[in-house]
Subunit: 351 residues, 4 copies
């Protein structure tokens, strides 16, 4: 079974590669009558766009969205909504270098193993550009969620070995790292620039908070809300880990400290991260993801060509030294897609 | 959409609560002709069974498996294979105490929020007993995988603050913690027993290694092999985190150290954990999960009753002070279900 | 992808063969809180049960239903509801005759072709007994529908070459053919008995009316309400055709007579059969199915054994000379499963 | 759950309305490496195209296909293949007349009931133009099938009350009715033209033969090959009935004549229509569909406006007096999508 669809009731199917004709998405299941404009979708896409600062890639991508169906007079009609971004900044010749070599940390080798054929122009389907389609769909989902009082906020919590020591929502869009603490952000930026100059990259941790989720979302026993969030996050190429609430720190805790006790005003703590038994508690859902350092680096590395001969490769050019700031809107979008789907599933259960 | 099914082509649907008539599973898509015996399934179930040692619950459960369909003369027929474990050790009166109170760390409150009704006998559908159905299905999956040269091994890597310093597959079934290092295991056992005596519990980390997976499994962009493993693991009630390969440590690494370089004999490292772009590389798939401390503890804790009045609750009796040893076969089973499904998906892609 | 599940949001998964341990069903997605008793389910099963009259098979089957999960104090809990009927009247030796021969009109040969293995006891998974699981699930669906003012009525419209000339709902359960016209029923019974005496069987046409369906059900463009009904009906082994509203007679009609005109009190005719563009109109949904003559007949017929040698076969014993009366409750059940699913889908769309 | 996807392993998701920006399809699961050209897809689309003769609508549609993803150097890459047809011949003003009126036989009223909103430009999502996306996907499926020795042929069997008395594959593309008998075709054409002149339309019967299907395709008990074909056909707006093999005529047959006997060279007849127990027998799969007379007619009919006032409507202009010839390639495409999906399902079962 192919894997280009996500969600059951607010269901997206994406298409497109970095250097084909376009990337885009069909959303099937948009609540009919909902008002949405291309500008609203574009605003989210602009947050993911390359070239926003010197800690992101200067590569130019046309991220202009076009809604080609399921949309009439500014409203969703209930028919599948197709949104497309045409590819423009194509320099296929720039990829001759990698045509016959496997880039370390990239999916070049596994795509060839899986499909027996490879589109060597850029990363093909494995390109980060594919996530633009997710952000477009996420923008629609987030608008519906907002109408239901649900908001989603992600931010860089740690990068290049530097952690934020506070979470200030107001500063996130004010710094190029999308960090939640301006002082840490400044340090991160400096360190990331340094790594970029060295032809290297760094990883980080992104945290996401979903507020206003009603209690009761999530479908035991397999489609738990946290299970679906974990899948959504690990479906992003750069993500190597997911944790909710206490996360990995729970391993060293005792039941008496980990259990969230209750008093008459509700839960006294939130080690659960907003999910008990895979069903939302009504508290904030809080999770974190581990973002690996960008694989494309200018430093030469050992690899082989497609025949198996040893060689070296250096990925010149236009790449993010740290993917965290640009993954933030993607994380929010995937979280939104999970929550909207479960809202619809809960409505169906009780119908 | 309800959530009791897992997998697409080797598809399981589970049923049953801790105190209903039975728990069980229908597997739809078992490769026809495969030989399997009830004894082989039983052997795996016995590893999950309560009462194996003093670090697991002494509660007695009948875990005797019956295969009631899709099975003829010792072979899978291709028809849905239904396996059932009848519930026997039912002491509903033992649950009067919790009938009107929410147990901290349990799903009592969220099941009520979701369904508007609650089966208060034990944890109902949220009970760990539900995982017996997964282990039964996993036993069938693992047998098919083994025939394909794929083996799966999970073990306790850390518990009660104590880490294993080596991984010795031979010792795992020799210690009651299912730890991979006998010296650490002895310390863990001692510490866990102490916590149990105090009416408390502890968490831990379980690691799982899948060997022999061919390159090419996983379906971009959403059903990546790591995404499906993450979902499988987070679908277990006690799991709060998942990481693959370098996992959360990747956050502090640089691209030049994280990228797995290659020479003519293949990958030189495995920070990827066996997955690039969500497709298996042919290396071992290695992941870890965070297991929360058991919620049921004898120490009294603050909670409310279902009307909202503050009260205290102490969960007497038969509970695992550390769930790690018993979750090990469940982790292996869920991993097996993910891999078998992707083997079938890859076969379909190329048909 | 295996095929033992039906429905998306009120989702059933069936299991069981005619001569294995049991047949049954898991329903995932039952509206929580709904009251249902085993007696209510049993009542529907009794309508499908063999041995009701001399126009149905005298074979004895134990059709006693047991609800083993998802059900507490007479109510659905929202957890998967598992219902089981144990097989009792097993006479495997009675099937030695057919062990190595293909019965004409039966799926013996195709099951072997598909699975490479065959459970020769009776018809295995292809047995009509499998439909008992559908009727059990349908009983639950119908109860929920009834609460929503939706009722379903099927009946034999034609059998053994004799057509009903009126539709009287009150007489359906009063005659052994479940025909909608007592005079025709008497003729049918006489003719069917005659055919049975000759060792032969006959086909027929069953009509089904679904009343009270709100306008708006059905999901363009593939999951149209009529498309899902057609699939549901053709998923019954004995069904060779499906038509809705005007059906095949539309082929000879002109647009000016086929179009259902409207006046201020609504549609003036119902050639559409209650569906326009695959969405319910609010009128009665009316469809008919073609039921083939029972394949198991006492008259000897030409066939081959599994090696390909020519031989003869006569299916002695306990078979329905006309399947129409017993398929009626199955048709109603499948129709109910389609409608309940679309009610939930419509609720999800607008959430 | 929304309904714009069809198929599980060769899975299509369509989008687009008659007067939005475009119609198109994403195919997920195309066998990687398969060669396909835009010209090959275009050739099939041209068969569905309006304006081919005077028995089809003279409306001009741009049916120029563009493949925008999943396709590199003339081959399918395994990534989702997106194909698009931009809408060009838009005359929204032409639809002012129907903006506030319900056209009899059309889905105007049910779309409004379902979605609470309506795109009144043409038939919106219910337009026949949507089937262009199916034909594009079908062209890809048919090419893979052909490589496997499977061919599909549909033709008009009856129209305007005139039946073909022979089936000659060579004449189908030689007459504007796509009938399988030239003499009948000439009569049909004459009668259809007459009806068109009267401002009326007619229905018909289309037959489809799938040759070369291996035995063993179809997934009991719900996803039978005939059940999936029935659904595929009833998912076409103009189709009111489906029958396979003997079809509705089986109702009057006896078991002894309906059962397909076998001798050493195989089945002696094909009343089953190539499916026993929902699994292909290896014989030709033969089915027929009932096509309703075109709803859009120039003759004035009674209807209401959206407020409920009685009025008259005459649909002027560019409509097919008989949809049969243009539905033929759509039927072949949907049949191809069903068969390719089951080939992949069978491969997965045995993996």
């Amino acid at each position: 079974m192919p894997g280009s669809s996500f969600g059951k009731l607010f269901k997206i199917t994406t298409f497109g590669e970095s250097h084909g004709g376009a990337v885009g998405v069909i959303i099937d299941g948009v609540t009919p009558g909902m008002e949405i404009s291309e500008e609203e979708v574009q605003a989210e896409l602009n947050r993911r766009k390359p070239g926003q600062s010197d800690v992101t890639t200067p590569r130019k991508e046309s991220d202009t969205i076009h809604i080609l169906s399921g949309w009439f007079e500014g409203k969703a009609t209930g028919a599948p909504m197709m949104m497309i971004l045409y590819n423009e900044d194509q320099q296929p010749s720039a990829y001759d270098e990698i045509k016959d070599k496997f880039r370390p940390g990239h999916a070049d080798i596994t795509y060839l193993a899986k499909y027996g054929i490879r589109d060597h122009r850029g990363s093909g389907r494995a390109s980060g550009r594919e996530t633009a389609a997710r952000v477009a769909a996420g923008a629609v989902a987030r608008k519906i969620l907002l109408r239901n009082g649900i908001s989603i906020l992600a931010y860089t919590k740690r990068a290049a070995g530097i952690s934020c020591s506070s979470v200030d929502p107001n500063v996130i869009e004010q710094n190029s790292m999308r960090a939640c603490d301006l002082i840490a952000a400044a340090k991160m930026e400096k360190r990331v620039r340094l790594l970029a100059d060295e032809g290297d990259s760094t990883g980080g941790i992104v945290e996401c908070v979903i507020s206003g989720v009603p209690a009761g979302l999530g479908e035991p026993v397999f489609d738990k809300i946290d299970a679906d969030l974990a899948k959504a996050m690990l479906s992003l190429g750069a993500v190597k880990g997911f944790e909710i609430g206490s996360g990995f720190s729970c391993a060293d805790m005792q039941g008496s400290e980990h259990n969230d006790e209750m008093d008459c005003s509700g839960f006294m703590t939130n080690n659960a991260g907003g999910s008990l038994g895979g069903i939302s508690t009504g508290q904030d859902i809080i999770f974190r993801i581990a973002v690996k350092p960008t694989s494309s680096i200018a430093k030469p590395q050992n690899t082989t060509d497609i025949i198996g001969n040893e060689t070296k490769i250096a990925t010149e050019g236009r790449h993010d030294p740290c993917i965290c700031p640009r993954i933030v809107p993607v994380v929010e979008s995937m979280a939104a897609l999970v929550v909207i789907d479960h809202i619809k599933r809960q409505a169906a259960l009780h119908a």
